[in-house]
Amino acid sequence: MSQSIDHVLRQLREAGIHVSRRELLRLAMFSSAALVSGAALAACGGQEGGGAGGATPPSGTTGAQASPTTAPAATPGQQAASTPTAAAQPRKGGVWRMALHANPTAYPITIPGALADILVNKTIYNCLTQYQLKDGAIEVVPDLAESWEANDDLTEYTFRLKQGVKWHDGQPFTADDVKFTFEAILNPNVNAALRGPVSSIDRVEVVDEHTVRFILKRPFAPFPVMLGYNQAIVPKHLLEGQDLNQPTEFLKNPIGTGPFKFKEFVQGSHLEVAANPDFFDGAPYLDGIVFKVIPDGNARVAQVKAGEVDFTVIEPPQVDALKGADNVEIREAPQVNYYFFAVNHTVPRLQDVRVRRALSHAIDKQAIVDRILRGYGQVATGPINPLLGDYYNPDVTTYEYDMDKAAALLEEAGWTKGPDGVLVNASGERFTILFNGPKGFPVMEQVITYAQQQYQKLGIEVTLDIVDWPVHLEKYRNLEYDLLMEWWITPPDPDLYDHYFSESAQNRWAYKNPQLDELLVQARSEADRAKRVQLYHEIQKLIAEDLPVIYLYYPRELQAVSKRTKGLPLIGYRDALTWMEKVWLEG
């Protein structure tokens, strides 16, 4: 223990930060493992040159810079491991058990999109980049990549890959695998679910065994971020020539580069992975991870309480059930996610911005956060999450709860109450809203029911359409709704093109705003970070004014974690799972 304290002290001093041994110890005593490592990271900042093996990647490796990114000697997670934490030294051994809601498939090319697949694949495979939380903002750091650089107009990215990385079957990982993976994802005959984030790629060139170059169709600043968004690299030597949509042979024993190797999958029961002692970033502490399939939400809570699983995410209403369980800690993890009422812009009465503003004024978002989310969230001001650091612009038009203002705006837009209390316009059209939502999401159902009551108070006739998940998404896709509740979890980059650009396939609301379109293209092509921040501030102002959808809240992810779990970064579990080699279990 004292030895590693000294080690950290040395590292910090090399970075030009002077803390006394006592201060560090005190810090360690009062903070959880994640906090200490986070503090140490924050302290290191990016000044450190690569001393005793603890260099952090410089901040701002988002690729917005054209300058080469220095090669970090190690990923920051390693510091979490070498950092002495609260009470004990990381201990080897033990199996960590995590609850999944559905069967996973350990194949990252086609099926993901299903959350269970994404989670499991984080431990078996690696992307070129990954994310970590620093100073309350999410940043992109290397994973299989060692460093990267872009040309001046952001149309070419060259990635240097880590050397000596091996697939679980012992074959070397090379640039050919990277090329193969992205060509598979972009192949129109492959049903790649996550093609969107890398659709900017025109072609991939192998420069040498450990260098790969991406030539893009257009300037694209967030490219390195997108490569960390579930874009796991798969082995060419096993998948070449296979049916990439149904690789039944490969699925019997999926092979990755990750800290854990596939061990077994029992349908409907569990998927188990075992430690990969040859992992390029150091052998994991855990012997393995078991992903238990527990479809019922109450059963997941019961199992974490009974000590049969170490991790599950929960919904705000389930917090009470876990109060008083002394073996479980409830953590609030930030996530890049916002909830909103989608607005169908093909419906004439919703095309009037005054109507959309009225619909926003009528909703008490703070009350939703306080009462329905039980405080585990924050009122949303727009589509860009505060986790994106200086990209987030809090200084935009907001729509505070004000029913009088809402009523006045509707009247201004030509809607007056008819004899039966329902709003009608000059041509006698009644103001009706078909409000769609998915079945089986208690929080969303509560929010929709609340909104229905609020809108009815204004004289709007609201019909609820709460339907099964696939039906909900089909209606969303086909614009068969007036309002619809949904959320977007996005990569940690402010790029809004996919969801807001008029002609984008993912613009689900038929929203068209030429002024915004222009800014969106400009912002995603901007190489200078400061200018890019400025552009996104402008975009957020414009969006807040025009209100394409009704923004509700940024939720926080609620994690029920066994107290014996140590070293799990406090970040959304999709990203925390990329750091599983650092997690250990207390005796």
Partner: protein, 315 residues
Amino acid sequence: MAAYVVRRLMQAVILLFIVSVLTFLLIHSAPGGPALLANPDLSREQIQQMTEQLGLDDPLPVQYARWLRNVLRGDFGNSYNTVQPVTRLIAERLPNTVMLTGLALVLSIAIAVPLGVLSALKRNSALDRVIAGFSFIGVSIPVFWLGIMLIIVFAVQLKLLPAGGMYTLGAEFSLVDRLEHLLLPTLVLVVANLAELTRYTRSGMINVLSEDYIRTARAKGLPNRVVLIRHALRNALIPVITIIGVLLPRAVSGAAITETVFSWPGMGRLAVEAAMTRDYPVVLGATLTVALVVVLSSLVTDLLYAYIDPRIRLG
């Protein structure tokens, strides 16, 4: 007898065909389409393309004919969600369900038949009322509630039994461990089955006890035990066998709710989850499997009738 069985089996084939057509029509007319295609990350073009790849843009009769042709070759297709062959999914899940629901069925019979007989013999006594009371409670408790309550009491509070799953993961196979995992879900299923079986046994027994041949048997001076078991119970079991014939397919179709609450990887969950996500090949495969068992168990039931009641002639 053999001719009868052959004829019944041929009827079964026709029946299975009809079931498959109906299932096919029903699942395809359910709104929403496969969840695979409902992924919000997919673009419209990709969805179009995947629809074509899966052959979902063909007219329904074409799709059905293609499915049937493959089935006749023994290929039930792959699950949309997990890419695994449907036959393998079912082969993995079926034994789990049979273990759970089979044990529950055997236990239910072992408990319910004696209780029913007892109720019938001591008709309207305090004991009869107590048994009736418990039966009604058992049939009225929602399965998911009972399951969660049992988990909270025995797994969370007392920490005596596991909260779910089939076995302790990572541990060597042990019978004790398996039984511990079976105990709570079996209990839930037995409680749910018990009422039906007890009531049927009781009413069957009461009917039989008032028959002339029982009076005759008693008049002959046969010992009470012989009268009850040889003459009464055997005849009273006919309606009970009917009920078991109904319960048997349930043992294969699984108990979706119980399996969900106890994270038991059985057929019920497979079928329900496939239906929810519109995983057409799995829905069809699971439904046909259950249909096959229904047909076979009704055949077995009929054969059992003939064995128990010589008045029934098959043919």
